[in-house]
């Protein structure tokens, strides 16, 4: 018994010698490396290739039973999603400099750095380029890296990631500030998605995009945005989009979300509302200003949901969900702001709102009471990255850096995983949630 007592005493003394708190903060930060590519190489680079795995997925798009998943700056994966529990890769469409897409009546419209290309998607295993509108876009951003065209050369930036670890005092809850990385004037092109009212068109058989799309279809028009303008294309002749107008919106244009006869434009400094009752000539109605941040928008009835995000090249210090009363579209009013962690895309299937929190997962909220959204969090899926979400009724499609997921959300408290396509990610996986 005496030995047991001594043993206990020894154990306590031994443990007591290590009574220093051990705390460390880990950060994944983004770095940019410039490179150049010839315009001719881009324009000659489109071709259909064999299916391949996801590596750096960007935006997703739903068309009929197909999923189109953008591979940032490389092209588009075409996936047969007839069986949602077992989606099947069909082909990979190589499009240099691609980040956005829209589809109507088997015509795929996609950006290729400065050009808008049209591809016939009637044979998904072998899409064919049928048209090209040259020099539409002057500059843009992919995953925080800027590109621009100078004469016959495109100057672009590759993105890489670095993990930093520092010791902390175990208590610091100050805002992190930006001294270790410095602010970068960049926008996001990572996608996020919304409900069917997203960029679905008014005519023909169109697909579904979401809250961070930069392409949208409405009536006989394809709308595309770059950093400062809205470009309109008449696609009455589907293979040969005709550029009909350009509307200057101001600097920092990020997303376009058509809803009924309005266009909602997400910018780095606010949300613009455009009257689109005449689809050939959208007119500015109002601007809801907010702190500088990246901000996709979705809308349901008289309420707009806007996420403001910092990090990833976005300026500002706000990470929040803004709920905005748009019953008067000429004077939108903030209803309430809710702090979030790092919100990206969002989708609404009223009364459910799905909100991507980047590396912090996907959250679901009941938004039936706009004053109590934070109190009505339905779920929080922490186990995967979440950057984009499309809600097709009770069918959720979610893309993150570690996979493409599909959920049955008929139980809004507990979405049921239907399938997963893994992603090879260049981002270090450091946080096991």
């Amino acid at each position: 018994m005496k030995s047991l007592a001594l043993l206990s005493l020894f154990a306590v003394v031994l443990l007591a010698t290590s009574c220093n708190d051990q705390c460390k903060e880990t950060r994944v930060v983004r770095e940019l490396q410039p490179f150049r590519i010839a315009v001719d190489d881009v324009r000659n680079g489109i071709r259909s290739e064999n299916p391949r795995s996801l590596e750096s997925p960007g935006k997703i798009y739903v068309y009929k039973n197909y999923l189109l998943v953008n591979e940032l700056k490389k092209g588009i994966h075409i996936i047969d999603n007839s069986d949602v529990s077992n989606p099947r890769f069909v082909s990979f469409l190589k499009i240099p400099g691609n980040g956005d897409m829209a589809v109507r009546d088997d015509m795929l419209y996609a950006d290729s750095y400065m050009d808008l290309v049209t591809l016939d998607l009637s044979n998904p295993t072998n899409p064919v380029e049928v048209g090209r509108n040259k020099d539409i876009f002057k500059s843009g951003v992919f995953d925080g890296g800027w590109w621009s065209v100078r004469e016959h050369t495109i100057e672009d930036q590759n993105v890489s990631y670095r993990v930093e670890t520092i010791k902390t005092n175990c208590e610091d809850t100050e805002n992190g500030g930006g001294w270790w990385g410095g602010p970068i004037l960049l926008f996001e092109t990572f996608a996020a998605f919304s409900n069917k009212s997203g960029s679905s068109g008014g005519n023909g058989n169109s697909g579904t995009a979401g809250s961070m799309a930069r392409f949208a279809l409405h009536d006989k028009y394809l709308y595309t945005i770059d950093n400062q303008s809205l470009h309109l294309f008449d696609i009455s002749a589907p293979q040969t989009p005709e550029s009909t107008a350009t509307v200057t919106l101001g600097w920092g244009i990020e997303t376009i979300f058509p809803y009924r006869d309005k266009l909602f434009i997400g910018t780095t400094t606010g949300m613009q509302i455009l009257d689109n009752s005449d689809p050939s000539a959208p007119k500015h109605l109002s601007t809801f200003s907010h702190a500088r941040a990246c901000d996709p928008v979705v809308v349901h009835e008289n309420t707009a949901y806007v996420t403001l995000r910092t990090g990833n090249g976005c300026q500002g210090s706000e990470n929040q969900l803004d709920v905005i009363d748009i019953s008067s579209v000429t004077s939108p009013k903030l209803i309430k702001s809710y702090p979030m962690q790092n919100p990206y895309g969002l989708a609404v299937n009223f009364p459910n709102l799905y909100l991507c929190e980047g590396t912090y997962g996907l959250k679901g909220f009941d938004v039936s009471d706009n004053q109590k959204i934070a109190d009505k969090q339905n779920f929080h899926l922490r186990d995967q990255d979440a950057y984009d979400v499309i809600s097709l009724g009770n069918h959720l499609l979610l893309i993150g850096r570690d996979g493409f997921f599909q959920y049955d959300a008929s139980n809004p408290q507990r979405p049921r995983l239907l399938s997963k396509i893994p992603v090879y990610s260049p981002i270090p996986k450091i946080n096991d949630r």
Partner: protein, 194 residues
């Protein structure tokens, strides 16, 4: 994650309780044991990377152990507590034992051990911070003054390890930011037992 941990803890406690009932059939009548104590946690942190020196930490702790005497010297049960680590309020829920190493007429020398999970049920985070708890280990030894079968006073010296994790706001060109914390503390608790 939290649900799984709760289930694991409850399963462990159920096993201990089963053991207790089995033992009591042959050895004891069920004897309820309670230790309720409050005290302080002593620790240090640093030096840090940015030339910040070592700092001392003193924090409040309280807990209650409710169990059954399953052997002449051994009690098993559940320990519920509250620990305040300046920036985090943690509620440990643990499986616990109390073992009398030495007994005299009115005093006893005993070992304690608690292992479980610290929850952050009552933690109020600043906006955009999200604190989650983690595993907790709490061995120690103590003295009890008071005759057997009556209320006694206890003094316990212990070591406590508590894990926690905090998601922090992202700024600049970060895409992820979080802090992992391991609180390593020694401490002393005073209380009563019966």
């Amino acid at each position: 994650m939290t649900g799984k941990l709760m289930r694991a803890l409850l399963l462990g406690l159920f096993s201990l309780a089963s053991f207790a009932v089995k033992s009591q059939d042959y050895v004891f009548k069920p004897i309820y044991v309670n230790h309720t104590e409050t005290g302080v946690l002593f620790g240090r942190v640093g030096p840090l990377d940015n030339n910040v020196g070592v700092a001392n930490k003193v924090n409040f702790t309280a807990q209650t152990f409710n169990g059954i005497l399953v052997r002449p010297r051994l009690a098993t049960g559940i320990t519920l507590g509250v620990d305040w680590y300046n920036a985090v309020l943690i509620n440990p829920v643990a499986a616990g034992i109390r073992y009398d190493i030495k007994r005299r007429q009115n005093t006893s020398f005993f070992a304690t051990g608690d292992i479980g999970y610290g929850f952050t049920w009552f933690q109020k985070d600043n906006p955009r911070y999200e604190t989650r708890g983690g595993w907790m280990l709490n061995p120690g030894f103590g003295f009890r003054m008071g005759s057997m079968g009556s209320t006694g006073f206890t003094m316990v010296f212990f070591y406590k390890m508590q894990k926690a994790k905090v998601d922090k706001p992202i700024t600049g060109n970060m895409i992820e930011r979080y802090e992992e914390r391991t609180y390593n503390r020694i401490g002393v608790r005073l209380g009563i037992s019966f």
